[in-house]
């Protein structure tokens, strides 16, 4: 392929507005008098992996809720792969390749692991309203099993979710977010409450994701965050006050004072 074609392809792509995976402009979210997010502006490139750090109540989860459409922002715009999705319902954003996990697992506890993952695969493909049961060799059934294997839950695929351990539920939570063809994933504290071994598995899952899949990960554990992220955004009181490479953030005095409580290690 000649460089000329490469340039014309990239030109066409940028002309089509595929510039950024995620672009927030002046997003504000108020709950009554409380401003959970104030004038948040973020740009994340396709395939970029970013960590969002911040103290409790900084507004990190609220940021995710606005991006996925769980809440509508009070003001500001949200663009997903160049498309203005500010007023889209959640399911429309998900069908465009956005995914998320929840800080507190939101699973279907009365259904089996397989049914949970199968629903996730169904949600982002056609036939959501199908009244016909899937057949044995159904490709969606196949991909559900592959996903279950990827998060190491194959042995308990037919177990009800309510009988799973906490760590297994967290893993299932991740599987639900990777169904279909994700393009951008929001991970809300996926490592919280996991054992060191489970943490290592999580880091492995995240670093092994195909490189075109970008994500934002909210993570209190600096070790995990800095191993799986290329860039870091710092939040405090509903604002993003610093962005940069992990090394810059770690050595930043303001960050040390606000977030790390004057030092770490």
């Amino acid at each position: 392929m000649s460089t000329a074609t490469v340039r014309s392809v990239s030109e066409r792509l940028s002309a089509a507005g595929t510039a950024n995976a995620l672009e927030l402009r002046g997003v504000t979210k108020r709950f009554g008098a409380l401003a959970a997010l104030t004038d948040v502006t973020i740009t994340v490139k396709p395939g970029e992996r970013r960590a969002v750090l911040g103290s409790n109540g900084a507004g990190k989860t609220t940021l995710f809720n606005c991006v996925t459409g769980d809440f509508l922002p009070t003001s500001g715009t949200i663009r997903l792969f160049g498309e203005d999705v500010t007023n889209f319902p959640a399911h429309e954003r998900i069908r465009r390749g956005l995914r998320r996990t929840y800080q507190i697992s939101l699973l279907f506890t009365g259904l089996t692991v397989f049914d949970n993952v199968y629903l996730a695969c169904r949600g982002v493909s056609r036939g959501r309203f199908s009244m016909l049961r899937p057949r044995k060799g159904d490709t969606l059934v196949q991909s559900a099993y592959e996903l279950i294997e990827a998060v190491h839950l194959s042995d308990i695929a037919q177990i009800k979710v309510s009988e799973l351990s906490y760590g297994q539920q967290r893993q299932l939570e991740i599987a639900l977010a990777l169904a279909g063809a994700p393009r951008f994933v929001l991970f809300d504290e996926p490592a919280a409450g996991l054992s060191p071994k489970e943490r290592a598995e999580l880091v492995e899952i995240l670093t092994n994701l195909p490189s075109h899949i970008g994500y934002i990960i909210i993570e209190h554990d600096m070790d995990v965050a800095l191993r799986v992220a290329e860039t870091v955004s710092m939040m405090h009181n509903g604002r993003i006050f610093k962005e940069g490479l992990p090394s810059e953030i770690e050595s930043d005095p303001e960050v040390q004072e606000l977030y790390l409580g004057g030092g770490h290690g």
Binding site: H91, L106, L107, G123, R128, F129, L176
Partner: protein, 360 residues
């Protein structure tokens, strides 16, 4: 390559796998189901015409209408009080589009046209109700659907051009298909048994199909379902449409059974009765509404006699039904089905003392 396979051999193979699959399917169904199925099929040998037509026929019909509520409430978490009205609309449409005593209104369409159109009209009506009701939760869903039920009742009573007002329609009978009079006890028994079985199996089948599975997901966790790409509102509305088909079949059979339909068919007492039937039977599984309907029909039919024997006013049967409702809801919020499940669980726990311990 496939060419090397002799066609005969592969055909035999398909037949063999079909046979094993059929065998596996047969074995996967518990014996109790075969027993109940056989008893139901042979019932006309034991029961008299009154039982076949008035007890079983009616119980199957009310069971179907309550089943449509069970589908919405049990799988979708939506309690709709409009199911009886939807059923009655189906019944009305058969009278209006087909033949009835009110010859100036009825259009006289053949059954193969008026029955599907009646179901379609009921389904559209239910979809409209659903479109308004699914944006509300809990008590508000109940209120909105109750408002629809009340409006339907008063509208049918006051509208003479379409619904023939207070008197409704008489002489609405099933078609004489295959030369059978389907209002005879035995044919009617099999007709209602067949329809009830199909509806029952359809609900069980759909509950494990993507649509039903997603509906249960929405019941448990609508927010997560939206975050998985499901359109929660559209899914809930479709549940109303699906349930309406079942209710409408019940409504049409009800008209044929009574040979008439009038506003009272979907009056508020009838609307409440469907709720009572579903709750008393249990809405956790599709068999519940049929159990509830059977109990209701037995009480409704025989309690006047029992009360009179006890030298009380016979028309106090509603009191008995009400008391029964109270007892069941008090002792077992999940209905007779819940009582049964708990009794079985207790027996299973006791079993190891006498029997071999259960494999687990």
């Amino acid at each position: 390559m496939a060419v090397s396979d002799s066609p005969l051999q592969s055909e035999a193979e398909t037949r063999r796998t079909l046979a094993t699959r059929l065998n596996g399917w047969v074995q996967s169904i518990p014996i109790a189901y075969w027993v109940v199925g056989a008893i139901m099929l042979l019932m006309p040998l034991i029961a008299n015409d009154f039982f076949l037509y008035q007890i079983f026929g009616w119980a199957f019909i009310l069971g179907m209408i309550a089943l449509s509520l069970m589908f919405l409430a049990g799988y979708g978490g939506m309690v709709s009080l409009a199911q009886m009205s939807i059923a009655a609309l189906g019944g009305y449409m058969v009278a209006i589009l087909g033949d009835s005593g009110a010859t100036s209104i009825s259009l006289g369409w053949p059954w193969w046209l008026n029955v599907p159109v009646a179901i379609l009209v009921a389904a559209i009506f239910a979809t409209l109700i659903g479109a308004l009701a699914v944006r509300t939760e809990g008590i508000y869903t109940i209120m909105i659907t109750l408002a629809f039920a009340a409006a339907f009742f008063y509208f049918t009573r006051q509208n003479y051009t379409i619904f023939n007002g207070y008197s409704g329609f008489g002489d609405v009978v099933p078609p004489r298909l295959f030369g059978v009079n389907w209002r005879d006890a035995i044919p009617f028994y099999y007709l209602t048994l067949g329809c009830a079985t199909i509806c029952y199996l359809a609900v069980i089948y759909v509950s494990r199909a993507p649509f039903g599975l997603a509906l249960q997901g929405i019941r448990d966790n609508p927010r997560r379902m939206a975050a998985l790409g499901f359109n929660v509102v559209a899914h809930r509305i479709t549940a109303y449409t699906f349930a309406a088909v079942i209710a409408a079949i019940g409504g049409i059979l009800l008209v044929w059974q009574n040979a008439q339909i009038a506003p009272g068919t979907a009056g508020l007492p009838a609307v409440i009765d469907i709720l009572v039937i579903a709750i008393v039977g249990g809405i956790a599984r599709p068999i519940g509404p049929f159990i509830g309907a059977f109990i209701y029909v037995l009480l409704r039919t025989f309690s006047p006699d029992v009360l009179q024997a006890l030298s009380m006013a016979g028309d106090r049967y509603k009191l008995l039904i009400g008391l029964g409702f109270l007892v069941v809801v008090y002792w077992s919020p999940d209905g007779v089905l819940g009582l049964w499940d708990r009794w079985r669980a207790r027996r299973r726990r006791r079993d190891p003392l006498v029997d071999k311990p259960e494999a687990s």
